[in-house]
């Protein structure tokens, strides 16, 4: 059963206004920018964004007015520091909630991971020792103080935080390769992708390339997502640019710097978005705007293939 859709069809069919959407779960790698840009083109509204860190994708969605609130540990431009739409939305006004500032549920990275893992495991919470003494859990309904039912080696029942399960309406991830049913290979760092996929009600899988099922089945340990959890598969080459996709293209550091320089005011951001998001139809036109030379400069210069692994018997 093929689940292949175009990006615009996948976003139109499977993301509704008001949804909670988990994005950027592999941290600074394989951020699904192409999917995020389609959310902006389709003027999705009232979204809750979920992710540990987002690099600049959350900033773009906030600036475009798609966002109601954010559940995250860090929002900014990893290489450059702050991101301006996020700051303006928090400090002045959120374009997605006119007249109001952006509501942010502050978590730590581990708390985001635990919340998604609780969702993935089908339990209402997971316990942790993190953030004790921090202001993050204060007045924050994602945390609840609990006492361990078991005594430690000193006979003490320790105080812990329970982190509330997070169940995204939609999780969007980008990986290297997938078959048409959504069985997907990914390599490099995973961040909280595995939990984010298992926790979600729907999964939109973007892949650099869609490959025959036999390629995926040749290495079941490389499979990070089984197809039965996937709602839609989108072939989106370069769809994670400017973030890196190991084995396909490196990080476009200059793009992050240019974004930082070009989005210092709300007006500047709109110009930037008109160029890179609204001014292109899809990731193919986006790549055209990048230019062949820029794309080529990011491509793999030296291959480094994994050692042979034999599943035979």
């Amino acid at each position: 059963m093929t689940k292949l859709l175009s990006m615009s069809d996948a976003i139109a069919a499977h993301v509704r206004d008001g949804d909670s959407v988990a994005l950027g779960l592999q941290m600074e790698q394989m951020i699904p920018f192409a999917a995020g840009h389609e959310l902006i083109r389709q003027k999705k509204r009232g979204l809750r964004l979920i992710g540990p860190i987002s690099d600049i994708l959350f900033d773009q969605l906030i600036g475009a007015g798609c966002v109601k609130d954010v559940v995250a540990a860090w929002v900014g431009n990893v290489m450059m520091g702050s991101a301006y739409n996020f700051r303006r939305a928090c400090e002045v006004e959120n374009p997605g909630t006119p007249g109001e500032k952006l509501k942010v549920f502050n978590l730590s990275n581990f708390a985001v991971a635990l919340g998604l893992q609780a969702g993935a495991m089908g339990v209402p919470f997971l316990p942790t020792r993190t953030a004790r003494g921090s202001d993050i859990p204060k007045g924050n309904h994602f945390f609840y103080e609990i006492m361990s039912p078991f005594a430690n080696e000193h006979g003490e029942r320790e105080m812990l935080y329970a982190v509330r399960a997070i169940v995204p309406d939609v999780t969007i991830v980008h990986v290297q390769r997938s078959d048409a049913e959504g069985n997907a290979h990914c390599w490099a760092n995973f961040g909280v992708m595995l939990e984010g996929v298992r926790a979600a009600k729907k999964v939109i899988l973007c892949a650099e390339e869609v490959v025959p099922a036999e390629v995926i089945a040749s290495d079941p340990n490389r499979t990070v997502i089984p197809g039965f959890l996937v709602t839609a598969v989108v072939e989106a080459p370069l769809g994670a640019h400017p973030s890196p996709v190991q084995g396909h293209y490196k990080r476009d550091d200059a793009f992050f710097q240019q974004y930082h320089e070009s989005t210092k005011t709300a007006d500047e951001f709109q110009v930037w978005a008109d160029t890179w998001i609204r001014g292109v139809k899809d990731v193919r036109e986006y790549a055209g705007r990048m230019g062949a030379e820029r794309v080529a400069s990011l491509r793999v210069k030296e291959h480094a293939f994994a050692a042979a692994t034999d599943f035979g018997y």
């Binding site: 540990a73 993190t130 004790r132 921090s134 993050i136 760092n189």
Partner: protein
């Protein structure tokens, strides 16, 4: 994710930059064989320096799930840059590395912040400032004025590292509003309000062992209050104290922060070839 304060004041001293001095100081905090939550920017380079000089068996952890026993072969801007993946010891997930942290397997973590206070608590979430840009707390009681909240990127993994590593080292620009008596928001717990606080609130271990600023190196006494352990070359003790938001204690045997060695400088310059982080 860790050093959100980019040292903007560059003090060129004899043959090395301030960034290089701070990197060398950070590198010396890593002991051989230790497991270190590395972070980006200056601490990343400190890890490279430590590995190539006195701590060849140190292991680096990154919160995205990467574990490296060798430094990445070239400079990286984020922990997920392809050179940090290729040749890694292990690529796993965040729950995996955070579990190692929570179970007490991580000796040391490096953190940046917008504010560090007297007891080593860190703030990287939000800062209250006077409208004309002054830190509200630094002038508290003097002029209520109107304040506003500056929103910072947030914790990332900083709260987790500060909570769960056996010790952590903070790196920050040295000024009165960066080093207030009390941070306006505890993102990452240090020693709270002093000795015994971490145990009382339920933290299993840890706390800051040093704060490396653009002017000095602070350590923490038995009372868990920061004190001046060494001032950087060309900076006086008085200048450090005057630029700290509380009455900073000074060690009896206060030293000058050792300059980077030739070997350390060679590693730094070989790694950060263009001086992106250390110039």
């Amino acid at each position: 994710m860790t050093l959100s304060s980019n040292p903007s004041q560059r003090t060129k001293t004899a043959g090395f930059t301030l960034g290089e001095l701070m990197v060398a100081a950070a590198a010396r905090e890593i002991k051989d064989g230790e497991v270190v939550f590395v972070g980006m920017r200056l601490p990343l380079i400190a890890f490279v320096v430590a590995k190539r000089t006195h701590a060849p068996n140190a292991v680096g952890l990154f919160e995205n799930g990467v574990i490296r026993a060798t430094p990445s072969p070239e400079l990286i801007y984020t922990m997920a840059d392809p050179p940090n993946i290729k040749g890694a010891t292990q690529c796993l997930d965040m729950i995996g590395v955070m579990s190692l942290l929570q179970s007490g397997r991580v000796n040391l973590g490096f953190l940046g912040a917008a504010e560090v206070d007297r007891y080593g608590n860190l703030n990287s979430t939000q800062v209250e400032v006077r409208e004309h840009g002054q830190d509200a707390r630094a002038t508290a009681g003097v002029d209520a004025g109107s304040t506003k909240t500056i929103r910072l990127p947030g914790s990332g993994g900083a709260c987790d590292i500060a909570s769960l590593a056996h010790r952590f080292v903070a790196m920050i620009e040295h000024s009165r509003h960066r080093l207030p008596e009390r941070v306006s928001y505890i993102t990452s717990p240090g020693y709270g309000n002093g000795r015994g606080w971490r145990k009382k609130v339920g933290l299993p271990r840890g706390g800051p062992s040093a704060v490396i600023t653009t002017k000095a190196l602070l350590r923490f006494g038995e009372d868990r209050e920061a004190f001046l352990a060494s001032h950087h070359p060309g900076v006086t003790v008085e200048e450090v104290v005057a630029n700290t938001g509380w009455k900073l204690k000074v060690a009896d045997d206060v030293l000058e922060t050792p300059s980077p060695s030739g070997e350390e400088l060679a590693v730094i310059r070989d790694y950060d070839k263009k001086g992106f982080w250390t110039s």
